[in-house]
C-alpha cells in the first residue's frame, strides 16, 4: 500500500490528531498502529504510562488487565488516577480516562487477576504483549503464555531509582523465565519506588512496542537496558551464552 492510499484510510480528524507523528512514520506507519492490538498486563505505575501513550499514539485496540482498585498510595506515580478515584476499579477508571484521551482506540478493560486462563483468552488475539506487572510469579505466567503463542513480550521492572527493560521473542531470544531464572521476590503493591522510575521505563516499553509494530530500528532483543536514575546512566547489556531450551520449551 502506498502512503497516499494509507492516508485515505484515516479520517480527517485522525490525520490532524496524529499529524506530528505522521511526519515521522507516514500514514502507512499510522495505519500499522491503527491495525495493531496490544495487551497490557497491569495498570499500575508502568501500566499508567504505557496505556496513556499507546492510546495517545493511536494503537487500534488495547486490552488491559488488572484486578486492583485505586488506593491513595498509588497516586504518587500511577498518573491515570486522581484522588476522587480512590476505591474504584483501576481498569474502569483507566477506560474512562483513555476514552476521553482518544475515542478512536478500541479499549478492552479486563478486571481480573493475572492467571494462565485469563491470559489464554486474550494473548492469542494481540500482536504485542506488555509486562507492566509488579511480581515475578505473574510475570512468568505472562511469559509462558506469550511464548506459547509466539507473541513478542516487552518486559520492564522497576524499584527505587532503577529499572530494567528487554524484549522477549520466541525463536530470537531466551524466554523471561530462563533469562531471569533464580530471580524471586516482589510483594504485590509494596514496591519502594520514586514517582519517575515507572514513568521512564513505561515510556521505554512503549517505544519498544512502536519499533516492533512499525518494523523500524532495533528492538531490545537479546539485550537488557539497565537504568540507574540516580547517576543518571543507561547501560545496554548484551545477552549471550544461555542454554534455555529445557526451561522455555517445557
Amino acid at each position: 500500500m502506498g502512503d497516499l492510499e494509507a492516508c485515505s484510510e484515516l479520517s480527517g480528524e485522525e490525520l490532524e490528531r496524529y499529524s506530528r507523528q505522521i511526519l515521522v512514520i507516514g500514514c502507512e506507519g499510522q495505519l500499522k498502529l491503527k491495525k495493531s492490538r496490544v495487551l497490557v498486563a497491569g495498570a499500575g505505575g508502568l501500566g499508567s504510562a504505557v496505556l496513556y501513550y499507546l492510546v495517545a499514539a493511536g494503537i487500534g485496540e488495547v486490552v488491559f488487565i488488572d484486578d486492583g482498585v485505586v488506593e491513595l498510595s498509588n497516586l504518587q506515580r500511577q498518573v491515570l488516577y486522581t484522588t476522587e478515584d480512590i476505591g474504584a476499579p483501576k481498569v474502569l477508571v483507566a477506560e474512562k480516562r483513555l476514552r476521553a484521551l482518544n475515542p478512536h482506540v478500541k479499549l478492552l478493560p479486563v478486571q481480573a487477576t493475572i492467571t494462565e486462563s485469563v491470559l489464554e483468552e486474550h494473548v492469542k488475539n494481540v500482536d504485542v504483549v506488555v509486562d507492566a506487572l509488579d511480581n515475578w510469579e505473574a510475570r512468568f505466567t505472562l511469559d509462558r503464555v506469550a511464548w506459547r503463542y509466539s507473541k513478542p513480550l516487552v518486559h520492564a521492572g522497576v524499584g527505587e531509582y532503577y529499572g530494567q527493560l528487554t524484549v522477549i521473542k520466541r525463536g530470537v531470544t531466551p524466554c523471561l523465565r530462563c533469562l531471569f531464572r533464580g530471580v524471586k521476590g516482589g510483594e504485590r503493591g509494596r514496591v519502594a519506588v520514586v514517582a519517575t522510575t515507572p514513568g521512564l521505563l513505561g515510556l521505554l516499553e512503549v517505544n519498544e512496542v512502536f519499533k516492533i509494530i512499525l518494523g523500524v530500528g532495533e528492538p531490545l532483543y537479546n539485550k537488557i537496558l539497565v537504568l540507574n536514575g540516580k547517576k543518571p546512566s543507561v547501560e545496554v547489556i548484551e545477552i549471550k551464552g544461555l542454554n534455555c531450551e529445557d526451561v522455555c520449551e517445557s
Binding site: G47, V183, N228, K240
Partner: protein, 67 residues
C-alpha cells in the same frame, strides 16, 4: 588470579583474588541476594551454580520486580 567485578547499581569496582568461585559464593561475598541479581561472566549470563574463574570480567546488576 584477580576477578574484576563491576556492580552497576552502585557503580563499584571490586577486585577479588580467587582461582574459581560459584556465582552463589560470589554474590554472598558481595552481600548481594541471588534472588535479585543477574551476573555476567565475560559478557555471558551465568547462573548460581556456574563457576567463575579468576581473571574473568564480571558484571552484576539488580533486577527490579516492581511495576
Amino acid at each position: 588470579m584477580v576477578l574484576r567485578v563491576k556492580i552497576l547499581e552502585t557503580n563499584q569496582l571490586v577486585e577479588l583474588d580467587v582461582e574459581g568461585i560459584t556465582v552463589r559464593e560470589l554474590l554472598s561475598k558481595l552481600g548481594l541476594a541471588v534472588s535479585e541479581h543477574i551476573v555476567l561472566k565475560n559478557g555471558e549470563v551465568v547462573t548460581e551454580d556456574d563457576v567463575i574463574e579468576g581473571g574473568s570480567e564480571v558484571v552484576v546488576f539488580t533486577v527490579k520486580s516492581g511495576g
